[in-house]
Subunit: 490 residues, 2 copies
């Protein structure tokens, strides 16, 4: 059969886009830069949300909801924040339309101009800290541990489905603490929550680290991040957690009275992951046949397809299929029996391969007479005949194995794709090979900038587990005591 | 203790607002008409969402996500729709801010003006049908059964927390069908899903019916609705389900080829409920002491409060409390042990009463020595001493009983508050008593309008179970064959 996707080797970027569209995950909408997340894609996002939400609640957070709109003046209150945000934003200036007097549809009613423009939130620190101001008086009101699931808008000039869109879905945690120590602890805790989720659920190994000053969130004192390696060797920032110090508390005048009766500014964190994770998931596991999903995120984990000629055969096959179906359901496995007669088995095989269903069972009379069914793994594309009687028992373990195999494969790629680089010559070679490069850096923004301009590689992070060692900056030759992670990135 | 809420008898509207704010459910934000849904309120909304979402999926729907923004021109495409929507809307005209050259924060960058303004969705029929156009070619592509959880914006001049806010959260189902019959069936099915949810989960009895032409959704051929009676006798529309005919299919040119090879326009429905349900929930069950929550929606179903002097007593009490706690948790009950030493028991009693926790257990040494704990019901405000050994076994049944009691109480109010009205004189009396009035109506918009102008009562619906009978319109005296439901409404 003709492949529906551009092969990865031919054009990785085109392969990605083909896959997102052909696997029915998302598509561009009529509104520039905004996507439609289709049911198949949204179901995966829902699975991510459910698991993350459980982790947030287990660590003591509650969900809440803050306004979509933020008064324009709020962005000017925190000096660094305004530089980083509030520039490429959707601006609401009017609140009414009226009939065009020429009878041609509707036009903006100029009488309904807002006194102060409203910005569609690109992130919610400002409106949330303006709200927290009224919630916090005493140390008894702290900590505040809140998360919000929401849509946000950042006006992007060049967009790519899931990876960079004008509107995207995300969660943003915003916490308030009595002490610096507690806030730092929170920011670090959430980094680990993200890393655990990425590794355990997405089967995507990540490198945990902190950003350099250049790459920090606008308004943060420290930005923690997880970085993952995509199949083409590029890095993708998969989640960030910010220690915001007292910056937003000072900007919005949020103080509390301590146990000792002293009035102090409150300490803050914020942290978020977005639908960008969908892009990370795709570029970690998928292949030229389509999506490959880790079982823990697969909306359908097992699909059963009947192979038959005529209704009599279908009936016989369906007896076995339905028995397997109900037994798997009883085990809590997400399973589907596709007995549609509008499509041929071969079409269905390709369809579920494209959509990344981890396990496919094909049940036909010829095998069935021998007491066998065909089991195919999406991750390895391997097939085997297994005993009809034993197939149900095998599946839970096999789903775990697939999950682990996907993780191991991605980890191997990350390990093999990460190299120590000790000279600028090496750097120039490895960067073209799409490697993660651990190299010494002199700690200056100038050097960081110069390397970026020369190679498009940026410092993804200073890994938390980077060991102290004497060395010389790969670019400037100045002394350095730690290697940092360089790579080109999405 | 001084009551924190204005009594209902004194000022129902003020009582409602006090309750929403004091029970920490929501508050007004700095953005006019937009609310902040606080963690206590959002947790209830999450419980509603989870139950509704399960019901939607059980009836074959999947979730998806469509853009927040809709091009202005889309609203003009469906003639009735443009009249009903797209007037009081948030309009995005620019996509960039820049630094004020005078150094005073940020201003709108006039160079970044959109060619066509974008409207923040007040509802998504237009953008969704524009998308469906590309998804539907053949009868094989139908039905499309999609739901979206989203925020929407309708610029309201007079807002009230949960009941009417500029931005609110909701779900909107949008389905596409090959036949009129199937679409009507879908619209009716979703009405029943809403009614079942309202009655079984919210413990709120509703009247199912259809709207008159005047009150129909803009673009619908039939609007089904559920109407609930609030404690003050006013009606609250709690959910609507629309049969849209082929209106949107025609406006966006969405056709399919039937099995027989004919090209036909697609049939549509849409249906939604919103955070307005939070208002309905409050005004169905709550009292002068605060929120009363049906157990199925209570984030905390049971709270345990220790009564003690000194740490030694607390330790003894905590042994029993923690045993009860873990046993209740094992039964799947949402239970909390509040052993904070920063607040006194009396304060905690009031707090949990205000927040509507269905069952409170107070454990103190004096009772404990007799093998007893105090159990208080939020719905009846009754207290009793129960044997420590037996309390865990009683609770699951008691939660069901509370749920049923709340429903029965609300149903009794609805039944007693609904009267047959046979003359205009009666109508004028009953409307002032805050009744639901079943009266004959001549079927004309003029009469409907005249009654509204005279009494502020509107036709809430033509109940599905309204029986055919000969009668005369309560206002015009003209013949009528059915009673309809009149009431003043939120």
């Amino acid at each position: 059969m003709a492949k529906v996707l551009t092969p990865r080797e031919e054009d990785y970027s085109k392969w990605y886009n083909d896959l997102v569209v052909k696997a029915d995950l998302a598509e561009n909408s009529a509104v520039r830069g905004c996507m439609v997340i289709k049911p198949s894609g949204y179901a995966i996002w829902e699975a991510m949300q459910a698991d993350l939400d459980r982790r947030f609640k287990e660590t003591g957070h509650m969900n809440a909801y803050f306004p979509l709109f933020i008064p324009k003046s709020y962005f000017s209150k925190e000096a660094n924040h305004v530089e980083g945000f509030a520039k490429e934003c959707a601006v609401v200036t009017h609140y009414r339309l009226k009939n065009d007097p020429n009878g041609k549809g509707v036009i903006v009613d100029e009488d309904a101009k807002l006194e102060e423009e409203l910005i569609v939130r690109p992130t919610s620190e400002t409106i949330i800290w303006d709200t927290y101001k009224n919630w916090i008086q005493s140390y008894r009101d702290l900590p505040i541990l809140i998360n919000q699931w929401a849509n946000v808008v950042r006006w992007e000039m060049r967009t790519r489905l899931f990876l960079r869109t004008t509107e995207f879905l995300w969660q943003e945690g915003h916490t308030a603490h009595a002490t610096q120590e507690e806030a730092v602890q929170e920011a670090e805790q959430m980094l680990h929550v993200y890393a655990d989720f990425a590794e355990e659920v997405m089967a995507m190994p990540v490198i945990k680290g902190v950003k350099t000053a250049n790459e920090r969130f606008a308004g943060a004192l420290e930005t923690y991040c997880i970085e993952a390696m995509m199949q083409d060797g590029k890095a993708l920032q998969a989640g960030t957690s910010h220690f915001l110090g007292q910056n937003f508390a000072k900007a919005f005048d949020v103080k509390y009275q301590s146990k000792e009766g002293k009035v102090e500014y409150v300490w803050a964190t914020s942290w978020g992951v977005s639908t960008r994770l969908m892009g990370a998931l795709i570029m970690t596991h998928s292949d030229n046949n389509g999506l490959v999903l880790p079982p823990r995120l697969a909306p359908t984990q097992v699909v059963i397809i009947p192979i038959y000629k005529g209704m009599e055969e279908l009936e016989k096959v369906s007896v076995v299929a339905n028995e397997i179906l109900s037994k798997l359901k009883a085990l809590g496995i997400r399973v589907k029996y596709d007995d549609r007669d509008t499509q041929k088995p071969g079409w269905k095989f390709n369809e579920y391969e494209l959509k990344g269903v981890p396990i496919r069972l094909a049940i036909g009379m010829r095998d069935l007479d021998k007491g066998l069914v065909e089991l195919a793994r999406r991750d390895t594309l391997s097939k085997e005949l297994v005993e009809t009687e034993k197939v149900v028992d095998q599946i839970p373990g096999l789903l775990v194995e697939i999950q682990n195999t996907l993780y191991s494969k991605a980890l191997k790629r990350l390990n093999e794709g990460t190299v120590d680089v000790n000279s600028w010559e090496e750097f120039l070679v490895e960067v073209e090979l799409g490697k993660f490069m651990m190299a010494h850096w002199d700690g200056s923004s100038e050097t960081e900038e110069a390397i970026k301009n020369a190679t498009k590689a940026t410092i993804r992070c200073i890994p938390l587990d980077s060991v102290e060692e004497d060395g010389k900056c790969v670019f400037s030759g100045k002394p350095s005591n730690k290697r940092v992670l360089f790579a080109r990135a999405y």
